[in-house]
């Protein structure tokens, strides 16, 4: 290409810089999909739609109940809308911080785009729009059905119009806020550490919101006695809803179209709508100005690591450790293995490669905020699961459903949670070694040792989770000692089998190019593993039906039937442990990194 031609080509591209930014990113982030990935995405879309429909009908049912409450129904709906929008904006703000960090400071195409002669406004507009879409679509996909339910229950056609007008403007506020926070954070901390920190905070935030809602038991609306405490909760949660919060303006716009309500405090809806849109425009303009002012410097600082030195200086001062004379913070600083707490815990594992893998995996888990925060979420889910199990007992006492059925349902649910946890945490372990395979394959290790090491690291915690859920739920249901024991045995076998399946199939169907454990678990291999593991868990529960029935009814156990059940469980367990591990070891041995 001659120089003028090249210049013309560049100029042609420059006329569409926004598209250029997006195309470069799309090519890097979304390479060509395999048929398996397309199928997986289709399944996700269908599942997502089903969930959205479920949320719509669930919200509608709940709002109907609220709306019918005498005298305060419409007002309650309005306050609930305020609360929903406030939660939406809060979640979006956190989500936008992480996305802004990725889009503006950590994206793989950033080096290419920063050195390109792109107009700053085009670069900002392209990235800001992308950030808004990436961080909002999921929250919106599940939040919009709730808003539509408000319109159906409390509003009319004008409510849909108000939602259409208010929500897009509302999305700009958390997007701008997220960008500005990310920009300021990166100016003082390395971007990667900020992202880890924020991911952790997001999960804790979700956890708090989830626990608040679950512990409030909104289903107590069915019971008028429980209503007072729910109102208290709503009051306390929406107490911060001042006129200065954008979600309040959106509530004023949407809520003004509700039937049987009047504008709160004489707020004029059109004025509130204008404030919302003007505020959104101002936030965008402010973000754009700050981008032009600070982005170059922030990008540079995020790569310099100066902030690390600043923090290290503060840390050194706090520990009263004299700094080296040459000012090099990274002076000799070695932690003896004996004083390393994780290494100390590692002594629980057998010596050799198993212990080394155990220590290494534990350290990586603790240092990856996206991983440990999900562990916290998991523990909360187990807690909420057990907390809600009390209702099962009440149902059993009412005689609506037999206790035996509830016991079996409990075992099934416990098996489902165990399976989901093993697919999320154990299945990705081999894939996560993808880029380090050069080391594992060149080390004097048998592939079986690698798999055993991973199994050893994941089985004990999974066993604890499964046993806690099984024993606690059996006790809550008031099961006898032998029934509790039966449940515990089934839980142990389930944990053992699904964990082996997850590790073995993780090696048979790996995704060595995935960047995170969540992506591996959500991929094609993860879905196959989930399906197989669920079948195995259900089969084990199915084999426990006869002994559970006999124990529950105080019948004499027939030896032939008992042997059939026990033999079946042994065969299923042995097969589900051996086959995936053998296939996994073979796949690992054949893998050529």
């Amino acid at each position: 290409m001659t120089r003028p031609a090249a210049a013309a080509g560049l100029s042609g591209a420059m006329t569409r810089p926004i598209w250029l930014c997006s195309i470069v990113r799309a090519k890097l982030v979304n390479p060509r999909l395999s048929p398996g990935q397309v199928a997986t995405r289709l399944i996700f879309v269908v599942t997502g739609l089903a969930i959205a429909v479920g949320i719509y009908f669930g919200s509608r049912w709940f709002l109907d109940l609220c709306y019918q409450v005498e005298a305060i129904g419409p007002l309650l709906c309005r306050r609930l809308l305020d609360l929903v929008l406030l939660v939406l904006v809060s979640v979006l703000l956190l989500s936008n911080i992480v996305t802004a960090l990725s889009s503006f400071f950590l994206a793989r195409d950033l080096e290419l785009l920063v050195v390109a002669p792109l107009p700053p406004r085009s670069f900002f507009t392209a990235r800001f729009g992308e950030q808004m879409v990436h961080s909002s679509w999921m929250v919106l996909a599940f939040g919009l059905p709730t808003l539509l339910a408000f319109a159906t229950v409390a509003g009319d056609w004008s409510t849909y119009l108000a939602i259409l007008l208010a929500v897009p403007a509302l999305l700009v506020f958390p997007a701008a806020g997220g960008f500005i926070v990310a920009l300021l954070l990166v100016s003082y901390l390395p971007a990667a550490r900020v992202r880890d920190m924020v991911v952790g905070l997001i999960f804790i935030g979700f956890l708090v919101i989830y626990l608040l809602i679950r512990l409030a038991e909104p289903e107590r609306m069915l019971n008028p006695d429980g209503f007072a405490s729910l109102v208290n909760l709503l009051t306390s949660l929406s107490g911060s809803s001042t006129i200065l919060i954008p979600s309040h303006w959106a509530t004023a716009v949407i809520g003004s179209t509700f039937r049987d309500t009047s504008p709160v405090g004489g707020q004029v809806p059109i004025l509130m709508g204008a404030t919302l849109w003007c505020g959104a425009g101002a936030c965008h303009a402010l973000s754009s100005a700050l981008f032009r002012l600070l982005h170059g410097r922030a990008i540079s600082r995020s790569q310099e690591g100066r902030a690390v030195a600043r923090i290290s200086r503060l840390w050194a001062w706090l520990r009263r450790r004299p700094l080296p004379e040459d000012g090099n913070i990274r002076g000799p600083r070695r932690r003896a293995p004996a004083s390393d707490p994780v290494r100390w815990v590692g002594h629980l594992a057998p010596r050799g490669p198993t212990r080394e893998f155990f220590i290494k995996d534990l350290k990586l888990l603790l240092r990856d905020a996206s991983q440990w925060s999900q562990l916290v979420l998991l523990l909360a889910l187990v807690f909420v699961y057990l907390y809600n199990f009390r209702h099962f007992r009440q149902i059993g006492e009412s005689g609506l459903i037999g206790r035996l059925t509830l016991f079996m349902v409990g075992m099934g649910l416990s098996g489902f949670v165990t399976t989901a946890v093993s697919v999320r945490f154990a299945f990705p372990l081999i894939s996560l070694e993808g880029r380090m395979m050069w080391l594992l394959r060149s080390a004097p290790l048998n592939p079986r040792q690698v798999l055993w090491s991973k199994l050893f690291a994941t089985l004990p915690p999974l066993l604890v989770v499964a046993e806690v859920m099984s024993v606690a739920s059996s006790m809550i249901l008031g099961a006898s000692g032998t029934m509790i024991l039966l449940g515990a045995v089934v839980a142990a076998l389930t944990a053992l089998t699904v964990c082996s399946l997850a590790i073995g199939l993780g090696a048979v169907l790996p995704d060595y190019r995935a960047e995170s454990a969540a992506k591996v678990a959500a991929g094609f291999g993860g879905m196959v593993c989930m399906s197989v593991a669920m079948l195995v868990a259900l089969a084990l529960v199915g084999l426990a039906v006869y002994p559970a029935w006999a124990l529950h009814a105080h019948l004499h156990l027939r030896v032939s039937r008992l042997l059939f059940c026990a033999g079946g469980a042994v065969v299923i367990t042995a097969t589900a442990i051996a086959v995936p591990l053998v296939l996994g070891a073979r796949a690992l041995d054949r893998h050529e990194p």
Partner: protein, 251 residues
């Protein structure tokens, strides 16, 4: 293994095929104890594939590879125990510190904690990395990662050190230190196989050289012999390399 002429690495008729593409076609070579063997060739010639077969990362389609008398395919654990490897793609566990990474690697090679500590300190000091031993790897520069890899490969005192493009990312001081270390290691009986595009490093460090092109070795032998075969010792390795690989391209 005390005999200087004992081959530490032997390749006999090694062939590697990827689908319908022959990456390596019938390579025979031998590396003696204490020898530094340079592997040269243009991009895509088969150097990395050969070295990856030696380390057990790739399985040869046919042929035999022995490390210190152990067949890499039939007795991989024994063979790998004697190899130290530096990959051309230095991926590391970003969230571990340098010291933790070395402890992990030492553990995989079955070293005792005391031996790991002592060897890690020695090699990290040799490569001027001791001050960084407690820092996370994600804060290391490319050259520092390369030096950490060198430390990890030397930790268990292998009989054979395999280095694929070890000079990439090293500054002149680091490269000079590496050349010095490689010579010392060879003088103490360790065999070293290295692939590189930096011809003067091969001239300065290697005892024996092999030039590979399109999966075949086009010439090999002691440096002087390779020069002598090409019409006189005054010719530089670069001239020989360009001439041999150009001939192959034309052929």
């Amino acid at each position: 293994m005390s005999d200087k002429n004992t081959p530490v690495l032997e390749l006999s008729g090694v062939h590697k095929r990827f689908g319908r593409f022959d990456a390596v076609e019938g390579i025979d070579l031998s590396v003696r104890k204490g020898e530094v063997f340079g592997f040269l060739g243009p991009n895509g010639a088969g150097k990395t594939t050969t070295l990856r077969m030696v380390t057990g990362l790739l399985r040869p389609t046919s042929g035999m590879i022995r490390v210190a008398g152990h067949d890499v395919v039939k007795a991989p654990i024994e063979a790998k125990r004697r190899i130290g490897f530096i990959s051309d793609r230095p991926f590391l566990y970003e969230k571990l510190t340098g010291g933790e990474f070395l402890r992990f690697v030492g553990g995989l090679w079955g070293m005792s904690p005391a031996a790991i500590e002592s060897a890690a300190e020695y090699w990290m000091r040799r490569f001027e990395m001791l001050g960084w031993i407690g820092e996370p790897i994600d804060s290391y520069s490319h050259g520092m990662r390369q030096r950490l890899l060198l430390c990890s490969a030397l930790l268990h005192q292998p009989d054979l050190l395999v280095m694929d493009e070890p000079m990439v990312g090293l500054d002149p001081r680091g490269a000079s230190r590496l050349k010095q270390v490689v010579r010392e290691l060879a003088d103490n009986g360790m065999s070293v196989v290295l692939s590189t595009h930096t011809l003067d490093i091969v001239e300065q460090v290697c005892d024996t050289v092999a030039i590979i092109n399109r999966g075949r070795i086009v010439t090999s032998g002691p440096m002087e012999q390779v020069r002598a075969e090409r019409e006189g010792e005054s010719r530089s390795l670069e001239q020989i390399f360009l001439e041999l690989t150009a001939q192959e391209e034309q052929g």
